[in-house]
């Protein structure tokens, strides 16, 4: 089972109103210049051995995250002049010129000390341009969780620049064949580390999604032959099977308040949306389709669902007002629009649309305007999911052969492959922010 995360942090220095205004080169904005930043390996402040792994590992993780965000240009470590062990980590104990010479405008330095299986890490962000410290934090956690400390600090850096914390302490759950013929549910960090396999039943498991508290994954499975939903609690290993009286549950998503599930139930060939409780019991039927209604996704306020219906003769997106029971069509362009997910900001919906014989990721305004294609139709890109801050989208694409997971900024810029499993990785769902 996944370990409860023990991560304590104390604030060394905090600049309340600072939101990046004094940095040269704002990082937000389309097509903007990437912010050049150096991430020094960390200084070992203690006496314990095996320090190289942490020194480089913490820096590597931060560099990976900063690079993945698309907002930073992380300067090549081989060019760094200072040796971390021979210089200090606080203002005045190192020379900014050694970093400005390299073109760095931001600098991350820090140190760590290991006590038993715990590590204390001090991290600082410096403004090389103005010779100032911008963030200083101390974290204590398990040595094996050192990457989470690095993710946390990057989230702070992004907060300094944009006023909104980053999302690097979040995870993806997804379907993976891991090179075999079965489809199992996996969870991992964005960098592919801390992998956890939710299912191992050697059948077909699909459509994983998170509960809003990030503590459980809802997925569908054929493991008991009839497809239904299972709610798996990551920290206890407890699992609840949904057992509808009739029909089969194809997929479901837990509501933003965590109290109900919007699900697709197929019965007699017709697939309709239902509202279920967390035990899988039907609260009420939401649609009366004689065809197909699938893939509901909640609006952030929990009042509407975007879903797929074939009532117009091809799959298109519709928005259902849950209280009023009325739905309106959202997509009109393209003959095949599916797998919608509502942005956590509420303004846009991401989905998969067919372009010629290929599939691409699109976003559209929740009022139906301004559809934008984010991925190229030279390959297939499908099953998009929003980051918890709504600034990124993860999706599955076969652009490099097998289906692998990719991340892009919500504008479609800076598309990057996440670590692959060796099999086909599909149907990602992005967690809320985690600790």
């Amino acid at each position: 089972m996944m370990q409860t995360i023990l991560l304590m942090l104390s604030f060394l220095v905090f600049y309340p109103g600072f939101a990046g205004a004094q940095f040269k080169g704002e990082i937000v904005g389309q097509g903007g210049q990437k912010f050049p930043i150096a991430v020094s390996p960390l200084k070992n402040l203690g006496t314990a051995g095996d320090a190289a792994k942490l020194s480089e590992g913490l820096a590597d993780t931060m560099a990976y995250d900063l690079d993945l965000s698309g907002w930073f240009k992380v300067l090549d470590r081989s060019a760094y002049i200072e040796h971390p062990q021979n210089t200090g980590i606080t203002l005045g104990t190192f020379d900014f010129k050694n970093w400005s010479t390299l073109g760095a405008e931001g600098l991350v330095k820090g140190g760590f000390s290991v006590q038993g299986d715990e590590v204390t890490v001090e991290l600082r962000l410096f403004d090389v341009y103005q010779n100032k410290e911008r963030i200083g934090k101390r974290y204590t956690g398990k040595v094996k969780d050192y990457r989470r400390i690095a993710h946390k600090f990057v989230d702070e850096i992004i907060n300094q620049f944009t006023g909104v914390p980053g999302i690097f302490n979040s995870r993806l759950t997804y379907v993976s064949t891991s090179g075999g013929r079965f489809k199992e549910i996996h969870v991992s960090h964005l960098d592919g580390t801390e992998k956890f396999q939710v299912t191992n039943n050697r059948t077909i498991n699909l459509s994983p999604s998170w509960t809003p508290d990030g503590r459980a994954v809802l997925y569908s499975s054929f493991k008991d032959r009839v497809q239904t939903l299972f709610l798996f609690e990551l920290y206890s290993g407890k699992e609840t099977k949904f057992s509808p009286r009739a029909g089969r549950l194809i997929s479901g998503k837990v509501s933003p308040d965590g109290k109900s599930v919007a699900a697709t139930l197929e019965s007699g060939g017709n697939s309709n949306l239902y509202l279920l409780d967390l035990g899988g019991n039907v609260i009420r039927k939401l649609t009366e389709e004689t065809g197909i209604a699938v893939s509901p996704s909640w609006s952030p306020d929990g009042r509407q669902l975007v879903y797929v219906s074939d009532r117009a003769g091809s799959p298109q997106l519709y928005i259902l007002d849950i209280a009023g029971g009325k739905s309106r069509r959202l997509t009109y362009s393209g003959g095949y629009n599916t797998s919608p997910e509502w942005s956590p900001k509420g303004d846009r919906i991401v989905y998969t649309g067919r372009v010629g014989s290929r599939f691409a990721v699109f976003t559209i305004s929740a009022d139906g305007g301004d559809p934008r294609k984010l991925t190229s139709e030279s390959s297939d890109s499908e099953d998009p999911t929003w980051s918890p801050d709504g600034r990124f989208i993860a999706f599955s694409s076969n652009r490099a052969g097998k289906y692998q997971l990719y991340i892009t900024q919500a504008t479609g810029e800076n598309q990057r492959r996440l670590t692959g499993s060796g099999g086909d990785d599909t149907k990602p769902s992005w967690s809320p922010r985690l600790d």
Partner: protein, 195 residues
Amino acid sequence: MAQSKLAYWGLVFLIGLGVGGCAPSTTPKPEGPTSSTSESKSPAGQPSGAGQSGGTKESATAPGSLDALQKGQSTATPASSPLKDVFFDYDRYDLRGDAREVLRANADWLKKNPSARIEIEGHCDERGTSEYNLALGAKRAQSAKDYLATLGIAGDRLSTISYGEEIPVCKQANEDCWRQNRRARFVVIPTRPAS
């Protein structure tokens, strides 16, 4: 195992009738495990229970697709099977003329084998979204079921399941494969002892 012994009854009956004579003259290959006791994974008393049909040595019908997947067997319906697959157009679940013809032949077999119950599997090609394809597969299975019912087959002999795009019979990404995957297939459910 009494249960699986009974399971063979319909098949023995079928072979006795000589139905499915279009099969090649070669001996059916013993693809399945020789004993159904090897099926330790399936819990007893599952609702749709196609699970025990996979182990027949002389089987003219195919095991259910999920069983075949679990055992690493082909999910293709053997040419010798008296119950043929029916095929669909892309993103469609209405029955084509050729599908109706196959269904009439399948209905004839079901009339000659009145104790046989079948599970109709709906399948899709890989294009499009998993969840939509699961719903589409359910529609395809239901279309086949409804047509068999209009041909006089009792509804309680027919159950449906959709595997969407999840268990393709052909795995290349081209139209020749895709049209083979857009199918409904018919699996004889083993007879269960009254208990």
